[in-house]
């Protein structure tokens, strides 16, 4: 009993109370005030940038993440286990360091002559970096379980590699790809640390939603910060809720 009480207090102090305060703050002035805050042109630009960049990034993740997972499971080459371990580096690396690291190669002193600093491409690059592991790590276990016999049977019946991929492999991997994509999206929408240094945070150009919120907090405009926070939070939770719904329905189908 005492244990449960302590757990409850801890969760309340850390999560419940703060979330309640956020929701309360965003709704103090009613719907009109909320609407006014989120329809501020700078806020709209920031939210739009975040959502569009996140969508582009998760599409790229779906493609490359699946290819990487495929290579890590089905291919064999020296150093594979090291590559496999390094996939998690973006999870382990502090986000601010991710920004510094990307700037070292793709900043103004780029040895490759590629300078994306302070452009919208930088937003995409940073988001790609921090969300890299999601699709790879959700597709990998499914690919391991995937029965090669099925692919071989299809091939022996005359199916081309493209047909095998389209009709057998991708349908089996789809739920895993979708859950990786949903988690990437939720992460991308809220990402902050890796964007701070590399994007320059130029309003209307490279300022993402999270960075806009940060700026409003610095200006002590907590109502605006709270309103935009709720929008981003809602976008992330909506995608994750859709994912849960989709996976539940699917598992009922299989059973």
């Amino acid at each position: 009993m005492l244990g449960k009480g302590l757990l409850g207090i801890y969760l309340t102090v850390l999560v419940l109370l703060p979330i309640a305060a956020l929701l309360a703050k965003s709704s103090t002035g009613g719907l009109n005030a909320f609407w006014r805050e989120i329809s501020n042109p700078e806020a709209v630009a920031a939210i739009k940038l975040t959502l569009i960049a996140s969508v582009i990034v998760v599409v790229i993740n779906a493609v490359f993440g699946t290819i990487i997972a495929w290579v890590l499971v089905r291919d064999e080459f020296p150093g594979k286990s090291v590559v496999n371990a390094l996939i998690d580096l973006p999870f382990a690396l502090p986000t601010i360091v991710a920004g510094v690291v990307l700037l070292a190669l793709y900043g103004k002193d780029s040895p490759l002559g590629i300078d994306v600093a302070f452009t919208r491409a930088a937003v995409g690059l940073a988001l790609l970096f921090v969300t890299l592991p999601f699709v790879v790590r959700s597709v990998q276990p499914v690919l391991l379980e995937l029965d090669l016999a099925m692919e071989e049977a299809a091939a022996s019946l005359g199916a081309s590699p493209a047909t095998v991929l389209r009709r057998i492999v991708l349908p089996t991997l789809a739920p895993a790809i979708i859950s990786g994509v949903a988690l990437s999206f939720a992460r991308a929408v809220g990402e902050f640390g890796s964007l701070v240094l590399i994007t320059g945070n130029l309003p209307f150009k490279t300022e993402a939603g999270s960075v806009y919120i940060f700026g409003q907090i610095q200006n002590e405009n907590l109502a605006a910060a709270a309103a935009v926070s709720v929008v981003l939070l809602f976008a992330a939770l909506l995608v994750l809720a859709l994912l849960t719904f989709f996976l539940r329905r699917r598992s009922r189908h299989v059973l």
């Binding site: 690396l93 986000t95 690291v101 970096f129 895993a176 902050f192 994750l240 849960t244």
Partner: protein, 305 residues
């Protein structure tokens, strides 16, 4: 972490993933006709995958090590031993030393409750636990300011008690604990499920108290899952930037952690200082990966034995 976990919110990430690591290509050699084409496709996929990883991940990380040590080791040592650098380093460790044990105790307790308990609202509780993964760190910081800041819900009360939370270490500990909250819970739950209740029930029948059962039976059974969660918690706690940035006030040599120090040095055009601190954090991240791998191998060998 398996896909059978309670919520879709749970990250499929490092845990389960690392465990599925390298298994050889199980493919039997296809018929001679398609063999060359299939080999070509495989090579193509390998080049695309490794090229992408090299450009996005490996080259940038290698570059920062090169940039840091470009002018030899002594500027690096100088940058690492300035008072503000060492202060930031120790402050980061101090916060980790408080937040990680708290989250570990909470994580084990909450995992037991979610896995063994039967009560109404359990799945809602599961979603609450995962919430910090879905919330932007900036939003976490803002939410904490709205409760514990001077104009926040508890602002007046805290001021009367003479407790300062925001712009001081307690707030930074809370922010760090929030963002790293789910790891131990989520890593402990699957091992707890695997462990089952038979041994615990046997201990109970033999007259063991609940505490004895926990310390002698449950905890030894789940220890590697817990340790894995602790490793992830520590990595996240050391690197947290957004939430801590908001609640700390970022005062040099007072509330500046190592990640905040990186930003501060970078924005003040002290690239040696920024790179040095970034490399220290990157090395800690690599150590985390190493620990994750070793733990995965250890537990895999145990389950195979």
């Amino acid at each position: 972490m398996s896909s059978s976990d309670a919520g879709a919110l749970s990250i499929p990430g490092p845990a389960g993933a690392a465990r599925v690591s390298d298994r050889g290509s199980a493919g039997a050699p296809p018929a001679a006709a398609g063999a060359r084409a299939s080999r070509r496709r495989q090579l193509g996929a390998r080049v695309i995958a490794l090229g992408y990883l090299a450009l996005l991940l490996l080259a940038p990380v290698a570059m920062i090590f090169y940039r840091t040590f470009e002018h030899g080791i002594s500027p690096v040592i100088n940058a690492a031993t300035t008072p503000s650098a060492t202060h930031a380093f120790w402050l980061s460790l101090e916060i980790v030393a408080i937040a990680v044990p708290l989250n570990t105790a909470f994580g084990i307790g909450m995992a037991l409750l979610l896995e063994r308990g039967r009560f109404w609202g359990k799945s809602i509780l599961g979603v609450m636990i995962d919430l910090p993964f879905a919330i932007s760190p900036v939003v976490v910081g803002l939410s904490l300011v709205l409760v514990y800041g001077k104009t926040g819900w508890l602002g007046d009360w805290l001021a009367e008690q003479g407790i300062s939370v925001i712009f001081s270490v307690p707030g930074m500990v809370i922010a760090t604990a929030v963002v790293s909250l789910p790891f131990v819970v989520r890593e402990t739950m699957p091992v707890l499920r695997e462990l089952g209740v038979d041994a615990e029930q046997a201990a109970e029948t033999l007259g063991a108290s609940p505490w004895q059962t926990f310390w002698r039976i449950t905890l030894p059974g789940i220890r590697w899952g817990v340790v894995y969660g602790v490793v992830l918690t520590t990595a996240r706690a050391l690197g947290e930037f957004g939430a801590v940035s908001i609640v700390s006030g970022r005062i040099e040599e007072q509330t500046q952690t190592l990640p905040l120090f990186v930003q501060d040095r970078f924005e003040n055009f002290d690239s040696t200082g920024a790179y040095t601190a970034a490399v220290v954090l990157a090395l800690l991240a690599l150590a985390t990966l190493l620990a994750m791998n070793l733990l995965t191998r250890l537990t895999r060998r145990k389950t195979e034995a």
